[in-house]
Symmetry: C2
Subunit: 215 residues, 2 copies
DNA sequence: AGATCATCTTGACGCCGTTCAGATAGCTGT
DNA sequence: ACAGCTATCTGAACGGCGTCAAGATGATCT
């Protein structure tokens, strides 16, 4: 591991063929995203940050889009992990959904630029990320949590509806929890976390019955 | 009204100073947005579509952003109108919220690129559009509808929470209702409209109690 | 008529995404 | 050890972008 450079941090001078550019590019992308915002996230800037020429990325990604997709996918993976933690930390089965929602929003609010990139990519192709059926995906966690919370797995339609509705709500909260006009209310409730919690618990699916109701 | 050109459609040759460029630019922007998608929405393309030089817009908008903001604002205005219609069409007071939600999502789904532009702008400045307190704004309509549906205007915190939660949910639904993985369910429910309706009615706030519950 | 002033055009700058021909070096088989 | 192969990276170039400064144009006012 001296300097042949398959490691992730080739502190030595570039091994000239750099070892592992694709990973380095994704990392550089995330760094730029967090440091300078999404407007600064150009292919050239990523290449610059990684220390290679502007054309180098094209040997690893066919597109700028494909590179950003890779960054987004990393985000989805981490979101899955964050949700898994929230799920595990739930005190009772009935609170699992709520805890997942809070964890989801917390991740989005702690990585706002990344989260926006993730959803931008998803909306562009009008679907969830491909690995949404992986065991540890955020999507899968919600599905399982619903069952855990008492939903009836036999009623597929009802299950799906609940899952989608829950997802839509937390997504909305994630995007708007920081809006300025909510600041008085946020303050009154003791900060963003309680505010988000109240918001989520306010929406039926999370805090209350998980079965159908059709009046 | 022969050709002096303060009208909105100067069918005659450009009155050379064009009459009303700012409006024409916004219209051109919307046309491009719907026809060629958001990726094609460049300042130069808008100028081209309006038949002026690339620098001309700078005499009416300080920025590309400011132009797009104007397009977005037009969108918010129309969303307000769409919601007003949905609200008026509600059969019972208890169904007002639900009808508003459906109208909201319908507008977003019928103008997807415009809606995305609107929300992009809103998220960028982390707040609703400035005219959110206008009498006919979408935001205001939700507030009034909540009261109409039986919410207690005295409990300000509860009111705000319900309003925000409802908004977050419809926004989420608006952005994801068209996702591909939901297609089987959408079909099974008879198309997008019933699907959206079910989703919205699924989420407490819209179909059920509007008062607090705190367990 | 002449002056004023908002409006529009021309031309330029630097940055962007992307491509392509060529340089570089690790790998393979001998 | 050497030659060739192939993956990887560089340099230079293209058109398009947002933006700006300088000049042209014409409506309006006196």
């Amino acid at each position: 591991m001296s300097e042949t450079g398959s490691a992730e941090t080739p502190t030595a001078a570039r091994p000239y063929h750099h070892g592992d550019l694709s990973r380095a590019l994704v990392a550089a992308g995330r760094r730029i995203l967090e440091a300078d915002g999404p407007a600064a996230l150009s292919l050239r800037a990523v290449a610059r940050e990684a220390g290679v020429s502007p054309a180098a990325p094209y040997h690893h990604f066919k597109d700028k889009v494909e590179l950003l997709d890779a960054v987004a996918e990393e985000g989805w993976h981490e979101l899955g992990e964050a949700i898994a933690k929230g799920r595990a930390a739930a005190p009772t089965p009935r609170s699992v959904m709520s805890e997942i929602g809070v964890a989801y929003v917390r991740f989005a609010r702690e990585n706002p630029a990344l989260y926006r990139l993730m959803y931008h990519a998803a909306c562009d192709r009008a679907m969830m990320p491909d690995h949404a059926k992986d065991d540890n995906s955020a999507w899968r966690h919600v599905e399982e949590a619903l069952i855990e919370a008492g939903a009836d797995p036999a009623d597929e339609q009802e299950m799906k509806l609940a899952q989608i509705a829950a997802w839509c709500t937390v997504h909305g909260v994630a995007e708007m929890a920081g809006f300025k006009e909510f600041e008085p209310l946020r303050e009154a409730m003791g900060g963003e976390e309680p505010f988000v919690r109240a918001l989520i618990n306010h929406v039926g699916i999370f805090a209350r019955r998980t079965r159908a109701h059709h009046d």
